[in-house]
Amino acid sequence: MLKELCQKMFGRSLWVYHANSGGCNGCDIEVLNALTPYYDAERFGIRLVGSPRHADVMLCQGPGMRATARALRAAYEAMPAPKLVFAIGSCACGGGMWFDSYSVLGPVEKVVPVNYYILGCPPRPEAIIYGVAVALGLMEKKAAPVEFKQTELPIPRYHPEDLRRQGDLVIYEKAEKV
């Protein structure tokens, strides 16, 4: 449903606005790398604009910072609906390496609602283009949570209550794994 809605809402060229709220400039360079002729995201109609009022998509880099939170929120509210927000890089997705320091509020979703997360530090330009393609419904998403559970104890467990004395010998009956 979201896919159809996205295709309906964002059927034409996406104009992106690129908001850095205190990142280290690594993700900015990767975003610009995705837009420049080597990877050439402009062939999909993705174009960088200078004002949030012209934009459909906001690319957030950097964590939600105490100093820039209000400006980021104002930029988000200046965008016309429908709008998408991408969090690019591990700072914007989860707060980054300094997620618990004074000036960092946390991930960027504490300031603006985030629709898509592109992980990496910084993410490859391929990853950014893939994230945009997932958002537009051109590709299926591949990420899924992984869960592993050990169902039996890997070593045999010792039960002292199962020891049985038989003459001179002590017999241990139960030696199977738990």
Partner: protein, 146 residues
């Protein structure tokens, strides 16, 4: 992808011994450990703020963490990035409590670097002799005051 590109770390639960070295070394504190009871340890990798630095794979004594070359991890739900392992911890057969697995140094001592292995002894105790290109001299006169 270029050579040597590091992507998402992949955790192998069959190899992991639950030592917690990865959680200790993670600079982003992205690997969390919960001891829910005496014998069960939950090792949770919260992928959100992982920077793919590869320190966990470097420090893992069992090589249970490998850095894959996956970069297509974009998602609309941050929970998709997490990996979770529930591990049984081995307990002491007498007291029933957990004990630490043998460290890499102790393993080194056991496999091939034993005290009774005369051929390999100089690599440990005669390390100075090895550097001074006097291989067999200090094998005989081992000082017993360590």
């Amino acid at each position: 992808m270029p050579e040597g590109f590091r992507g998402r770390p992949v955790f192998d639960g069959n190899k992991c011994v639950g030592c917690g070295g990865c959680a200790n070394n993670c600079p982003a504190r992205s690997i969390l450990i919960f001891d829910v009871c005496q014998e069960l340890r939950i090792l949770q990798y919260v992928g959100g703020r992982c920077t793919y630095c590869g320190r966990c794979a470097e420090v893992c004594p069992e090589k249970a963490i490998t850095m894959s070359r996956e970069f297509e991890t974009s998602t609309n739900d941050i929970g998709d990035a997490q990996q979770r392992m529930e591990l049984f911890m081995s307990t002491c057969q007498r007291c029933g409590r957990c004990f630490k697995d043998e460290s890499a140094l102790e393993k080194l001592k056991l496999t091939g670097y034993r005290f009774d292995d005369l051929q390999n002894q100089r690599w440990i105790f005669g390390a100075g002799a090895y550097q001074e290109n006097q291989p067999a001299v200090k094998d005989i006169f081992i000082e017993m005051d360590w």
